[in-house]
């Protein structure tokens, strides 16, 4: 009897142990469940992670250069959340452009000084004849000097924007420099109008004499008489002058177009367009300045008798024969002293 009881007790104890062990396992498992759910960055299975399906900044920045959205204020420019291209433009404006400008302008100045020291002034070989011939009439001279004087102010005020804070600001102080720059900006804006008008008139006024011809190839082959002592034949404008003409027309057109884009900001372009406009404006303008330094040189100390063409408009006949032989032939061949056919001859009173 006692033995049977003992066996029964043993089995029930075993059962109890098994039950306890099972309970413990289940309990552990139950405990383990919320513990894992509370780990950071591991959302509960039934919770919502809004960022999983939402737009992401790095992804948007990779996809497009501008993160654009919708806003509630009238200024549509403000709907761009991020436009990191500004940093590239900064690199251009603060590093690339000053280097381009310094190399172009200082390089041209150095080349001109060197050239002057080696070649000196190009003289009128046959000496002055004392007779003159009209090279540029009053309208041509007026348009030239209107454009030129505007260009000088535009160039200086433009150079001030890129180089002023590096060169002038330390000399004259922040307040004076800001005042000067403010007025320079006004001058830059307002003088752009007569300058642009001048470029347009120059385009129309002189295009007939500035189309490339075979004579130009010969002139260029001979070095234009700039290098060496030969004076190849040239028409009213030689190949070098034609180049200056096209630099003025194309360069002037580009700086005018991009300049007006900046003067009327965001009317026609977005931020990328504004940055591009400034890049084109800056590069073309600095190369333009360098080219005009060469033009000023050859028109003044570089060549005897050249300035008179734009000064009085009358050049010495020997100068003209030396530099523009074909043009002089044409001019001298023209019938002189006769009334132009369009004007009716005065009738004697009857």
């Amino acid at each position: 009897m006692t033995a049977l009881l003992a066996t029964r007790l043993k089995t029930s104890l075993k059962a109890c142990r098994l039950l306890l062990a099972t309970l413990a396992l289940v309990g552990l498992a139950a405990l383990a469940q919320p513990a894992s759910a509370q780990q950071p960055n591991a959302p509960q299975p039934n919770s919502v992670n809004p960022t999983a399906s939402s737009v992401k900044e790095d992804q948007l920045l990779q996809q497009m250069r501008i993160i654009h959205g919708r806003g509630t204020i009238p200024d549509a420019k403000s709907y761009n959340l991020e436009q990191p291209a500004g940093r590239d433009w900064r690199q251009f404006h603060e590093v690339t452009l000053p280097w381009i400008g310094a190399i172009a302008v200082l390089g041209m100045l150095a080349a001109l000084v060197l050239f002057y020291l080696i070649r000196g002034m190009v003289k009128v070989v046959a000496g002055r004849s004392g007779r003159t011939i009209l090279r540029f009439n009053a309208l041509e001279r007026f348009v030239h000097w209107m454009t030129a004087s505007c260009f000088i102010v535009l160039a200086l005020s433009g150079l001030n924007i890129t180089f002023g804070k590096r060169l002038l600001l330390p000399l004259i102080g922040a307040d004076t420099f800001a005042t000067w720059s403010q007025w320079a900006k006004y001058a830059h804006n307002f003088l752009s109008f007569p300058f642009t008008l001048g470029v347009v008139v120059i385009l129309l006024m002189w295009i007939a004499w500035n189309l490339p011809s075979k004579v130009d190839l010969e002139w260029l082959k001979e070095g234009g008489g700039i290098v060496g002592d030969k004076h190849p034949p040239a028409q009213r404008f030689n190949a070098g002058q034609k180049m200056i003409y096209w630099i003025v027309v194309v360069g002037g057109g580009l700086v005018a177009a991009t300049g007006y884009l900046m003067m009327f900001p965001f009317y026609l372009t977005d931020i990328a367009g504004m940055q591009l406009a400034q890049i084109v404006h800056g590069v073309v303008a600095l190369l333009f300045v360098a080219a005009m330094l060469g033009h000023i040189y050859i028109g003044t100390i570089g060549m005897e008798g050249a300035f008179e063409a734009m000064g009085t408009g009358e050049v010495d006949l020997n100068w003209a024969k030396q530099h523009h032989s074909l043009w002089v032939e044409q001019e001298l061949a023209k019938p002189r002293g006769e009334a132009p056919p369009s004007r009716a001859a005065p009738h004697p009173a009857e």
């Binding site: 950071p40 993160i67 959340l81 291209a85 603060e94 002023g164 900001p265 009317y267 940055q275």
Partner: protein
Amino acid sequence: MARMKFLCDADRCIECNACVTACKNEHEVPWGINRRRVVTINDGRPGERSISMACMHCTDAPCQAVCPVNCFYTTADAVVLHSKDLCIGCGYCFYACPFGAPQYPKVGNFGSRGKMDKCTFCAGGPEADNSKAEYDKYGSNRLAEGKLPLCAEMCSTKSLLAGDNDIIAQIYKERVVKRGYGSGAWGWQTAYRETIAS
């Protein structure tokens, strides 16, 4: 010194535009200029996000670098400010800014621009703190009064945080840990070349 920053928690921004309004009112910002704005991306579609954006007071600020008259300066708290007395309204800071922060009142013909205006982190300008001249040009100087920018202070969901980098980054990190997600500090990579791991 503190490194002042803005942080917009995009998971919290509800596009209420109260920050925009508070800023305009606090500083008497001229008509047509909004120093702060809310931009909504993918508006009305799944995954849309609204972000409140203003000047981020960048590290090595591009506006400061490109200014032709050097009218910008960075304060000891790393707030990027400028002098309206020196500004010539050339518009270059807008071309350089990654966040479109600088704005200009139209003062004349040909779209000519007046003195640039932008978020000051409620820190005024170069004039004496809380002087009338400072208020007229730049708005109030809350930082000088020991207060943080109003836009963030009154943000109803506390989405917009303003203050020292270490503190606001810590707040944001704790939020991300607690709720289990975060879409990151918008603009930080662009403005500071750093981000908050989320």
